[in-house]
Amino acid sequence: MLAYIIKRILSLIPVLAVVTIAIFLIIHITPGNPAAAILGIEASQEEIEQLNQDLGLDRPLLEQYTSWVAHVFKGDLGDSIFMDQPVSEAIAEHISPTLSLAILAQVIAIILAIPFGMIAAYKRGSVADYSLMGLSLLGMAVPSFLLGLFLMLFVGVKLQWLPVAGYEPLSSGLWEHMKYLILPGISLGTIQAALITRMTRSSMLEVLNLNFIKTARSKGLHEMKVLFKHAFRSAFLPILTVIGQTFGTLVTGAVVVEAIFNIPGLGQLILNSIARRDFAVIQGVVLVVTLMYVTINLVIDLLYGAVDPRVRLERK
């Protein structure tokens, strides 16, 4: 097990190297001089040269990269030129709405998807199965930002049940906090729910065909007991994996959905920075979210390896 853990962690080094190089290079693919792009057309030559020096853009590329990475290791993501604030501080201020939203979406997805998937598997080939599978196909085809707009239109504008956009922190009360997050949560959770429904269905189907289920039935166990106590428990591991692996996607998805509902999270931070050409912030947000994504996947893999010995043996 220890060998597996070490191997899995070591395999991250090249990935992180490529990730940091790619993110570092973003500022350098700007057509023309990045400093000129940041300052806009009205900047004088002296100002541009000054900024070039401040950002270290006049040094050799390799030197710039190594010093950037060294700073990142110390938790220093540079300073936002526009907001006059360290990037790490700005990210810390904006991260909690994004995480709240991602977690809520995950909860919504799980609550919907596991019963749906079990029904579809149990009633395989029935109208219920086909309509649930059809719905999940549709769910995967509707991008979350579009679903967000639709929900905003029908639930927020037409029915006026929930506020159309905005955000309240958790400190102003749980309901106040949730009221603004329900619609974004549903928009984000739907694709996830569609995915988990399909996974639950196929995983349950596989288990329901096995002999021990036949045995359980033939000894006269109640169907509910067979379904939940025997089948679901063995079908749960692949479902859990899909839930874990796609949580990273939810964090990224949250970044887009926030923009629709005016939630002041990482998404808003990065979008505001595009127009301002605030590259330090853009690089910082992409890096932090990627690191979260990579870490989550690592933890899932390690857990999976711990639970299922086949995984860690296979990869040796």
């Binding site: 990935v15 790619a22 196909l137 707009l149 504008v157 990627t290």
Partner: protein, 301 residues
């Protein structure tokens, strides 16, 4: 020596076999409802994008301030936008943008991914380097990478194509590579190697044709993903810049007038969903058609 009669007999049999094979292929295609429905819807969308603009009496940039935000009716079938431009016309022009950006990204990333994938399987060191680069790029969430690239490159249709190609190529390269690896281990490739066939010959004549079916399936999904991503980027203001019409930037404008103009959300949204849904159906259908193993598995489960 075969007599003339025998030769004729063999020819007859092979003709019959071919006919049967074709009939079987046709039957499989016909029973593949997903592929048929998907392809039909998508063909209609493409047709609308191609010839639709010829039939509208409005231009995509014709503003008529008096008619701004008119509800759908006889004069403007799908209503007008915040500048009084005909929404149907803009949707049709937007379809051209969405579909051509999606197609360009699918083609470019397929071509690049194919080259990277097959050459990676053939040369070990190259494989290590290329696959680590792919792993790294895949680790960065796609839409975030696209946003960052667009921030650096600046908003334009061409840059959207470039950014999304960078985002999707690693995925395709991985799919091609895993298909090519299977072929590479076959005995006949080894035999060709021993006979002294050049790498180019083995790669392009024997490995590439065997990777085309999974590539085609993946390319269909990338097409759909690229349409979604373009719309998302344009919606976020980092894609196709106004005033050019794209489904994404119409949706962006719709957010500001959501209290007054439901049609600006519903119609471009439906167009987007239809195109993505039809492409996904096509992708699933193609997979069933081209890879009998998957079909068998899905039938069993």
């Amino acid at each position: 020596m075969a007599t003339v009669q025998e030769k004729e007999y063999v020819a007859q049999i092979s003709k019959k076999l071919k006919k049967e094979q074709r009939a079987l292929g046709y039957r499989r295609l016909r029973s593949n409802y997903g592929l048929l429905i998907g392809a039909t819807i998508f063909a209609i969308l493409v047709l609308l994008a191609l010839i639709g603009p010829l039939f509208t009496s409005y231009g995509p940039y014709d503003m008529k301030v008096v008619d701004r935000l008119t509800a759908p009716g006889a004069q403007h079938w799908l209503g007008t936008d915040e500048f009084g431009r005909d929404l149907l016309t803009r949707l049709l022009y937007g379809a051209r943008v969405s579909i051509s950006v999606g197609l360009a990204v699918a083609l470019l990333s397929s071509a690049l991914g194919l080259i990277i994938g097959v050459y990676a399987t053939y040369f070990k060191t190259l494989d290590h380097i290329l696959m680590r680069i792919c792993d790294g790029l895949i680790a960065i969430p796609g839409i975030l990478l696209a946003i960052a690239l667009m921030a650096a490159l600046g908003a334009s249709a061409l840059n959207v194509i470039m950014a999304l190609t960078i985002v999707f190529t690693p995925n395709i390269a991985r799919v091609v590579r895993s298909a090519a690896l299977v072929v590479r281990e076959q005995t006949y490739i080894e035999a060709m190697h021993v006979q002294g066939a050049s790498a180019t010959r083995i790669i392009w004549q024997h490995i590439v044709p065997n990777t085309l079916s999974p590539l085609l399936v993946q390319a269909t999904f990338v097409f759909a993903e690229a349409i979604i991503s373009e719309a998302a980027l344009s919606f976020l203001g980092a894609g196709i810049p106004a005033p050019e019409a794209s489904w994404g930037n119409i949706l962006q404008a719709s957010k500001l007038v959501i209290y007054k103009a439901w049609w600006m959300v519903v119609f471009p949204g439906t167009a987007l969903v239809l195109s993505v849904l039809s492409l996904n159906l096509m992708g699933d259908g193609l997979r069933d058609l081209l890879d009998p193993r998957v079909k068998h598995k899905s039938r069993k489960s």
